[in-house]
Each structure stands twice: as C-alpha cells, then as structure tokens.
Amino acid sequence: MDTSLVDSGQFWPWLIPALPLLGALLAGGLHFDVLRRRKNDSDASGAPVAAGIAILAMAGAFLFSLKGFLALRAGDGIILSTAFDWIPTGDFTVRWSLMIDRLSSLMTLVVTGVGLLIHIYAAGYMKGDAGYAKFFAYLNLFVAMMLMLVLSDNMVGTFVGWEGVGLCSYLLIGFWYKDGWRAEAAQKAFVVNRIGDAAFLLGMFILATTFGSLDYSAINGEVSLLAQDGLPWKLSLAALLLFGGACGKSAQIPLFVWLPDAMAGPTPVSALIHAATMVTSGVYLVVRLNPLFAGAPMVLTLIGAVGAATAFVAGTSALRQRDLKGVLAYSTVSQLGYMFLALGVGAFSSAIFHLVTHAFFKALLFLGAGSVIHGMHQEQDMHKMGGLKSHMPKTFITFLAGAAALSGLPLMSGFFSKDEILAAAFAGGGVSLILWAIGLVTAAITALYTWRMVALVFFGKERFDVNSVHPHESGSLMTTPLFVLAILSVAGGVLGLPIVFHAPHLLAEWLAPVLEPGKQILALANDGHAPHLSHLVEWILLGLGAAIALGCAHVAFHAHREGTASDLAFETKNPELAETLSNAWGIDRAYKRLLVQPIMAAAAALSALFDLALIDGTVNGIGRFAERTGHKVARQANGHLGSYGLIIGGAACVLAAVWMWIGA
C-alpha cells in the first residue's frame, strides 16, 4: 500500500462538506430573519427558501461525491486535498485534509444520496413547522459533519465530524424542545455519545503517541508493518477504546440506550441520522482502521460478541414495541449489531454492504413511518392504526418493499447482505459459530417484528376514530423519495451477489484495496489462508436464510393481521416478560438506577458534605477561629492596671529567666 500520499492540489473535494455547511449557514440566517419578520408581523414566508437552499446544497455535494467516485473509477488511487495546518502539537501537525478513497467515496455517495432524498422528503414533511428553516440548517450541518467524518484523512478530522454529527443529533432530537422529554432525550443522546467519544479520544492518544501521527494512511501503514510480529498490547487497547467510541455512536451494548429515545426527533431525522448515516459511523471507523482491528483478534472477538448480543437484545425488544418508530429504532440497533457481528468475524466488506443496504431500506422504512405518522396526525401507536393500506397506497407499497428487504425476504437487498454476514460467521468456525447461531435466530426475530409491524399498521380493521382522524396519503414531495428508496432497497443486492451466483461482488471488489491490509493480517493469524466455504454449504445457508425469513414473516403477518389480539394475549400471558422485552431488557432502567442516580446523588453529597461542610467549613472555620481568638486577645486589654502590671512583671521575669538560660 502506498503510504506516502501526495496532495492532489485540488480543492474541489472540500466542496463536498463545504456546500452543506454553507447551506446550513444560509438556512440558519434565514431562520433568524424569519423570526425577526414574524415578530414584526411581516411576511414570514422566507422559510421554504431554506429548504431549497438545503436541497441544492445537498445536490451539489452529491454531484461532487459522484465526481470523486468517477475519478476513482477512472483510476485515481486516492485524492488528497489539504487545506491548511490545524493543530501543531510540537511533535506532529494535524492538518485539515480530506481524502477520497474507495471507502470514503462510497460513504459520501450513501450520505449525500440518501441525504438528498431525505431532504426532499423533509421539505414536505416539515411544512408549516415554526422552525422550518432552522430544521434545514441543522440537517445540512449534519450532512456537512457526516461528510467531514468520512472524508477526513486523519482521526482528528474524523473526530470533528464524529462530535459534529453528535451535536446535530442533539439539536435535532431536541428539535421540538418545548416538550421536556424530547430535550431530555437529546441530552441523553449527547452524553451517552460523549462517553464513547472519551474512549475514542483515549484510543486516538495511544495511536498518536505510538506512531507520532494520526493520518489514517500512516497508522494503517505502520500497523501493517508491526503486525508481522503481532501488535503490542497497547495497540489492542487502542482498538478496544476506539470500539468503545464506535459503541457510543453506533448504539451498541452497552451504550445503545440513547437511540430508542432519539426517536423524539422529527422522523426525517430518524431516517437520516439514526438509521442511514450517523449510527453507521462506528462501522465506518472500524473498517477505516481495519489493519488495527485485524491485528487485535481479542478485540475483534469482543466486537462480534457485542454485535451479536446487541442484535439479539434489540431484536427481541423490537418485538414488543407498540410505537411504530420504536420498532424501527430497536430494529436499527439490531441491524447495527449485525454489522458489528460482521466486523467481529473479519468480514469488513460485508459490514459495509449491510451498511449500504440498511441505509436504503431503513431510511425507507422510517420515511414510510413518517408518512404514516404524518397521515395519522402524529399518532405513533400501532395499536391505534390498522387498515391503512387503502388510505395510503403509495406509502404502503414502498413500506412493503422496505419491510421485505429488512426481513431478508429472498432476493431483496437485505437478504444478500444479511446472508453474507451469516455465511462469514459460519465460515469462521469456532466461536464464530455461536455468533452465527445468534445471527440466525435474530434473522428470524427480524422477520417476526417486521411483519408484525406491517400487519398492525396497514392491515386489519381501522383501530382509530374514523370520525376525527382522516388518514391521507402524503404529497408527492414525500412519496417520490419513498419510491426511489424502495427501488434501491429491492435492487440494492446487486452490489454484492453471493459467489455462488457467479456474478462479480461489486462492492467487495471496489473496496478490496482499502481492505487488503486487514485481510492480510487476518490471513496471517489463520496461517495464511482465509476461511472458505464450499458452494454446497453456501447454497444450504442461503436456503436456510430464505426459509426462516419467509416462515417467520408468514407467522407474524398472520398472527397480527386481524388486530391486536395476539399482542394483548401475549401481554396477559407473560406480563413480566412483555414488560422486560419492551424496555430493552431493563438495561436503560438499570443504568438509571445504578449509574445516573448514584452519580447525581454523589455529586449532591460531594457538594454539600465535602465541599461546603469540610473544605469550605475549614476555610470559614479558620476565619471564625481567628475571630474567637481575637475576642479573647482583645478582652485582656480591659483597663485593669493590676492585671497589666502582673503580666508585665511576669513577662519580664520570664524574659530574664529565658535570657539567663540562653546565657548558660
């Protein structure tokens, strides 16, 4: 791998993040302009302009991403564009520098592409909202930060995006801050993310002190060299810490608790940030540093285990959600778990593959859900829906496509990507087989909750008050993106057809140069050859996957298509289990009880008992002591000459005695 990268001298890569940033500034300015006009009761119709600006900015960013992609396809290795020096640490200098390589190019395409669609959708969805322009400012800012995250050629730059998207997530979750709980959810998201960020920082410091650079090319290059003799333990620790950061951003156990709450944000936000892009940045980070992780097998195993556990726990939780977005939220956590499972078994390209397909179908599902909620006047409880397929046909059809992809129905995009992951896990053998088993079970669960959702929302009787609620199909601004995404969800699989199809795996081939170092290191651990499955086994696995998906989908659909009866039956039969599942196994509650409350109590105790009583008490005590002593001292001068004389005479005697003692 060529580690001595030369700056391309081109500036246009900067336009990719800069355009949305500019859009954010303009839209933000418009927002304040609107506020001012509204206060003066003058024309406040400037808001839609903001959407236009934002969409244009996105389109521009998408075009330049495309330009990057095409340039790479045309044979450019890596496009590096350095703006200027950022932080001189004394030992090395961190620069503002972007790098378009095959991985980041793919990510920019997904981010700007899906982002553009969601922007368009949002232009319809947010219509009439008081913070319309502000919303687009935030959204554009988010995209800019996300692009910074994936484009930066060094870890610090990535960290800018990393925290930047966290900030936008915070702002957007709390977008309707009037409701206190939404603001709380936003705060929770930020803080939990920050825990991961702290780990990220520490991991970054280990790398910086080890290699004296934070450029990805340098780190990956050096790690590849070091890996010949096995990586030192501190680099494994770095990998572990960075994975900690990924856990925060990508909502993995133990830091996943913020994501279900994050659904407090407007639905396009959930689609863009909490499904398609931001939450996958953990996956991106691991893949970006694939040699490092490949060289730390223990960490890799942990990643796989965490991914599998997350997938399972979140999947089971999704089963018991009544909130439409809740199902999707837990489903997202679960699917992210899949991606980490893939990373854990060393299937980096499979993780990216699932990342891409998931971006398509989960964005689609969220947007569809948004359309439903929109049509239902902000109702999110699936038990109060039902029979919407006739009211909202376009939403229904596209939603169906998304559901099919999510549940992994054969030949849908999700089918291929999920299968690839499971196959990789199976091929890994040993511990990976357990991961495979869990993954398989989760696949079944996925199909169950997906089709329960579809059935509850679109089929059966209408369980809402038909007189007051008139569900309606959303406008074309919202449905057009749905169709585009639906096509992608259905057909996305062509990016990575299984080997047994004897078609080129486009994605794997595209990413091969980026993933090569990690692959080599992994191969080193396996005595030089990568795990391999025979075609027969592959076929069997594919069939198994298809059968499970279809079977479970069938069961779930039929159990729920007539209404909520089976849900309620389950709840009455196993009230405790239902309760546990619907609250993600009570993990969030346990955190609150075991971490949050004790820390707050400790803070209060520290402030009141230690700081005020002890430390401040000591300080004030010295003051009081001085005053008391002062009174005693001052009282001696009471005007009684007798006592004065006694003191003077006595003191003179003492003085004389001391004097003679000195003399002696």
Partner: protein, 486 residues
Amino acid sequence: MNFESLQDLYSGASGALAPLLWLTGGLLAVLICDITPVLIKLRPAVVPAALLGAAWSAAQLIANPSGPVLGGTFIGDSQTGAFTLIFVLATLLAWGQARRYYDQEKSFIGEHDALLITAPIGMILMAGAQDMIVFFIGLELLSIPLYCLAAFRRTRDESVEAGLRYFILGAFGVALFLMGAGLVYTAAGTLNIESLTHARVALGTPLGGMGLALIMGSLLFKAGVVPFHLWVPDVYQGSPTPVTTLMATGTKAAAFAFLLRFAPVLPPEAGYPLGIIAVVTLAMGNLGALVQKDLKRLLAWSGIAHAGLLLLVIAAAVTATGTGEQAQILNAATSALLFYLLAYAFAAGGALGLVAWMEADGEDHTSLSRWQGLGSVRPGIAAGMTLFLLSLGGIPATGGFLGKWLAFSAAVRADMLPLAVLGALTSVVAMGYYLRVVITIWMKPRPEAWATPRIDRPLAAFLAGFCAAMVLALGLLPGFVLGPLF
C-alpha cells in the same frame, strides 16, 4: 567640666545637635510667645518653624553625618538624622491635627504646643543615644510630655484615665529599665553602648543577663510589644487623637530607633526568641484588632502588630551579631526600620488625621459604625482612609508594601524563614480588619437620616492629602527616599 565637650556643643550646633537645638529653641519660643501678649500671634508659626528647621538640619545630618559628640554619648550620624525626620514628621502631623481639635481646652493650646515640641527632643536623644544615661533622659523627655498630653482633655474621663494609665505603667517601665541598667552597669562597669558591645562576657553573667532582660522588657513595653502591649489600646483610644498620632508614629519610632542601637549589645542567641516574640506580637496584635469596633482602638491593636514586624527586623539584626554578615544585615535592618516607620508614619498618621478631622463633625466618629457609607458622601476622605489602610495592610503601590518587603527581607536574610512565613501570614488577618473598615466605608449604605459631615478644615485636608501623596510616592517612586538613605 570638660572643655572638649563644650567645643562639641559649639560645633555641634551646625551638626549633630542642630535638630535638638532647633527644637529646644522652638520650645523656648513657644513658652515666651505664650506669655507675651505682643508675640502671641506668632505662636502658631513657632512650632512648625522649629520643626521644619529641625528637619532641615536633620537632612543636613544625613548628607554630612558627624561622629560621636558629647564625649561619645550621642551620635549624630545619618541614622539619627533619618529618624529625626520621622520624629519631626510625627510631631508635625500631631501638631496639625491638634489645630482646632480641642474645644474646651482651647486656651491651653500654648501649653499643648510646648509639651508637644518637647517630645521630639526626647525622641532624638533616644535615637542618637550611645549611652544609657542619654537614652534615659531622652525617654523621660518624651514620656513626661506625653503623659500630660494624653490627659490633656481633662474634662473627659477617658482622656484623664488614659493619661493616668500611661503614666503609671510608663513609670513602672522606667523603673524596670533603671533596675536593668543598674544591673548591667554593675556587671559590665559601663553604661556606654559601644563599650557594652564588647562586654559580652560580663553581660553573660546572671546579673548582666537579668539586667539585659529588664532593659529589653522596658524597651519592648515602650514599643508596645506582646506581652507588654496591653496599655496600647487603652491609651491610644483614650488620648486625644493628635496625641495618639504622636504616640503611634513617634514613640514607636523612637523605641525602635534605640532598639536598633542596642541590638549589637544583645547576644546573637537572643535573636530567635525575639523573633518568636515578634511573630506572637504580630499574631496577637492582628487578632486583637480583628474584633474592634472603635477605629482608634483598632489602629492601636494594629499598631501592636506593626511593632511585632519591626521587632522581627530587630531580631534579625540581633541574630547577625558577631557573624560575618553583621554589617550587611544591620544595614538591611536599618533601612527596613526606617522605611517601614516612615511609611507607617504617613499611613497611620494619615488615618488618625482623618479620624481627628471627622471628629470635628461629632466625637463619635472614632466609632467605626459612624463611617458607614461615607464613600457615597465624602469620597475624598473615604478614598484617603482606604489608601492609608491598604498601606498599613502592605498592599503594593503603597509605601507599606515596600516597608513590608524590606522588613521581611531582613528576616529572610537572617535565615528566619519560618518566622517570616508565619509573620507574613498574619497579614491576612490584618487585611481582614482593614478591609472590614473599607467595607463599612464603601459597601454599606449610608443611613438616610445621617447628615453629610462638615469638613471645613483646610489644614486637615492638606495634611491628609500630603500623607496620601507620600504613601503613594513611597510605594511607587521610593528612590527619593531609598537613594539618599542607603
């Protein structure tokens, strides 16, 4: 009668003894003017004229120091000259403050001035004494007028009682001194300080040691050092404020002037115990002041603390006796004492002057609570008071800070670091009460009912302004004082 000393007296008129002669002349002139109706109008001019004359000749003395005179019993060196300036300053401030201060005793102002101008004569004798006899005469010339002045407002209980207390304890102190001097004389056979310096063996005997202890006791009493300090608050508070000024700035300076002369007589081992006494004095003086509600009594207690710091300087000088660094440290101690006392004279004299000034509006102005919110109606006076207090507290940009610096550097150079640190920390307590005064003046609201104080006293204003200017000058441009002196 020795012919030589007559010649001394003659030549000294333009040298070592000139300040003394100016003041003695002034004393006579005051007395004459007071009883001569034709000259009575001249009376107010006599004291300042004599004082300025003395100051002028003291300045001459600093420039051209003369050696020992009067048979080696008195020395008119630059140190004496410099101390003389402080004494003159103290007297001048007291004199200025006394104008229009007394209401019922107005007719006795002649006697007042005569007594007042006698005090510096005694002080100068103390500062230049090379012989215990001269010191004793000086001490009495200082003390006796002060006894009378303290009780000058004889229609007031507190004044009379202050005088009586001061007198009784003062006389007791003198008795201690004399007994000590007698014992020293018996042991060493001389009362000459120069000779005593070389009589280390004789002074090491129990008799000599006890004598030294008694002398030190009485000197510390005069300086107001713990545990001989108890008279200070009573007397400072009870005496008329101008007299308090004289005591605070003049008497203390005189006592330390002689202590400085006397330091080489003491054995170096005495240095550290003296230092401990000094720090205890610092602590107790400041702690005592912390709880005072009367400004004069507060300043009295703070005066005790200042005496403690000065004693630390003396202790440093004592420690160095006989060592190779003696000259250096003695020099440091001298400069520290002089500068400190000068700065203290301006600051304490200025502060007491403001108290005296405000007393014109009502005698209860010695009480701190009467100063509440003064900053809003009389910002000038309030600012002056603040400046003086900051200087007393040793905040930089004022003379008090440099004084503190010099004092502590003498102690540090004499390897008394722990004592220096402890002593420095007592300043925190000191700022505690100085700032309480500042709080009262600036940060508490003035009750609506209180009238704005009348302040039609040009002389008081002039003196306050002069003191304030000097406090700042000593802090910011101390070269003009430090240069000629060292």
